[in-house]
């Protein structure tokens, strides 16, 4: 379990957070949303001890990130994937890059080999095992970044806008993989994003605004208040947006609606009432 107790953080004079409390339990998929500059990336760096709170405590399975002795175990348990795949890849060859994390953990070569094979298989990167990393596409590079983190066998997979630099097919591909890891490998996911579809994968939405916890609830609750959604720099899903506009024009629709089918049924209901 990840626990933030009264966490404050500031870069010098610039205050980012003031007294945040939150808990992320095992088996959750948390979507982390918030406008640019709301502190999502800072929060993510607090989770694996890259940054330590100026006040309060961040506990990972009970381990305090301020305690120097815990830092490597915390980083192993909390695997972080960043936005830009190009600056996360360390090695020139795909399998060497996957091995980078386990090598740092000081595992035996046979164990490293086993983990590399496992991860290559899960992420379907086997055909690329000996490819030079620069020859991969953006989506494959981001897959590799996820692979490198998975090879450390983390309990928590934290992703900082991992698809924002990718094209739609790669984006879907990455999301499918994370869904698979969440469903099958029972990994806990924290996923920061602006994309409404990606928010729907989550079991819970945590929204940040101006250094405070602005919203904490299910995706359905989150999208039921359009002003709140926009304030977080997120757009409504197209159907929901259409429904919102129609409602504003005076149609008596229920809100929010997320699927074309639901909207069609609602409109049908209205029509039959007329």
């Amino acid at each position: 379990m990840i626990k933030l107790i009264d966490v404050s953080f500031s870069y010098g004079d610039r205050e980012i957070f003031d007294g945040i409390n939150m808990e992320i339990g095992d088996g959750e998929w948390v979507a982390l949303v918030g406008a640019n500059g709301s502190g999502k990336s800072t929060l993510i760096k607090l989770l694996n001890g890259l940054l330590v709170p100026t006040k309060g405590r961040v506990l990972i399975d009970g381990m305090d990130t301020r305690d120097e002795g815990n830092v490597w175990e915390i980083r192993r348990r909390v695997g972080v994937v960043f936005q830009n795949p190009d600056t996360q890849i360390v090695a020139s060859i795909v399998e060497d890059d996957i091995a980078f994390g386990p090598e740092n953990l000081g595992l035996a070569p046979e164990e490293i080999r086993e983990r590399v094979e496992q991860v290559l298989k899960v992420l379907r990167l086997e055909p690329f095992r000996s490819s030079p990393t620069y020859a991969l596409s953006g989506g494959q590079k981001q897959k590799l970044a996820i692979a490198g983190v998975l090879a450390m066998k983390p309990r928590y997979l934290v992703l900082d806008e991992p698809t924002s630099m990718l094209d739609p097919p790669s984006r879907r591909d990455i999301n499918k993989i994370i869904k698979f890891l969440y469903d099958k490998e029972k990994i806990t996911v924290v996923y920061s994003t602006h994309n409404p579809e990606e928010i729907f994968y989550a079991t819970r939405v945590i929204a940040l605004s101006k250094g405070t916890l602005f919203f904490n609830g299910t995706p359905w609750e989150f999208f039921s208040n359009p002003e709140r959604v926009w304030k977080c720099g997120v757009k409504l899903p197209i159907i929901t947006h259409l429904c919102y506009k129609l409602k504003k024009r005076g149609l008596d629709l229920s809100f929010p609606i997320f699927s074309p089918k639901e909207l069609a049924e609602e409109l049908w209901r209205l029509k039959s009432k007329m």
């Binding site: 060859i93 399998e95 090598e103 740092n104 070569p109 030079p132």
Partner: protein, 267 residues
């Protein structure tokens, strides 16, 4: 269109040959030893075995002859300059005269010696880089530098720096290309005008590139720390270099060759 085709692999030519398969450490040490002895020998005749030996190695490596000769291109000018300089400006017994320039016997000898040495220097280093991937060269260097641990040589750090540099060469070329295109779209011209103008014209490329490099370096450092990187201490490797029979044999052959050559010089 790409301004920088085929970067990142260096000059490595991936074919399967016995020379390719030899341990990088053996190859690095062999080339270094051969180069040292090459530059110690003062007799033109003694360079002939080096020529033959290098030739055999190239034959075994299956490197196309075109690539071998192409490797000489960058030093052609230096070669010509050194050759002519030695021919005309070495004092000794005059052989014949062209105008006021005297060609001496010693001069011809010296010119051939220096020319051959340079050619062999290029051939031998190319033999290493043609047959060994940058990654294996780095791995080999790391292992070799460990012998200098008592001198507090940071072998792991040097190797890590080298391998990250190699890894980022293609990325930076890509970035340079992107910036060039963006600036050209805004009307920048690169490499035109007089010398100073030409240098100045590259500023719109160099400045953004540098800023990008620093940002990338920071992001990479953060990503590495997130993946538990804490230096070479306690770090293991997926691929451990292992010397096999053929590596020992190769090393012995090189040493025997050198010993034989030195002994030839004594008698």
């Amino acid at each position: 269109m790409s301004y920088f085709p085929n970067v990142g692999m260096g000059t490595f030519i991936p074919v399967d040959s016995i020379v390719h398969r030899i341990d990088p450490r053996v190859k690095i040490v062999s080339v270094l030893l051969l180069l040292v002895f090459l530059f110690v020998s003062k007799n033109l005749l003694h360079l002939m075995p080096y020529m033959v030996f290098t030739g055999i190695l190239f034959y075994l490596s299956k490197i196309p002859i075109k690539a071998v000769l192409k490797g000489l291109k960058p030093i052609l000018f230096l070669l010509l300059f050194a050759f002519l300089f030695q021919i005309f400006f070495t004092p000794g017994t005059v052989w014949f005269k062209i105008g006021f320039l005297a060609v001496t016997k010693e001069g011809v000898n010296m010119a051939l010696l220096i020319g051959l040495r340079l050619v062999l220097l290029v051939f031998l280093t190319n033999l290493l880089t043609f047959t060994t991937s940058p990654v294996s060269i780095t791995d080999g260097m790391e292992e070799l530098l460990k012998f200098f641990k008592f001198l507090k040589v940071p072998s792991h750090e040097i190797a890590m720096t080298m391998s990250i540099s190699l890894r980022f060469i293609p990325t930076l070329f890509e970035e340079a290309e992107r910036i060039m295109k963006a600036q050209m779209a805004r009307g920048a011209e690169f490499g035109t005008g007089r010398f100073l103008e030409r240098i100045r014209s590259y500023i719109p490329l160099v400045i953004p590139l540098f800023i990008g490099v620093f940002r990338k370096a920071e992001e990479l450092a953060i990503a590495m720390e997130s993946r538990c990187y804490k230096g070479g201490e306690g770090r293991t490797r997926l691929k451990k270099l292992k010397l096999e029979a053929r590596d020992y044999i190769a090393m012995v052959i090189v040493i025997l060759f050198l010993v034989a050559n030195v002994m030839w010089g004594w008698f």
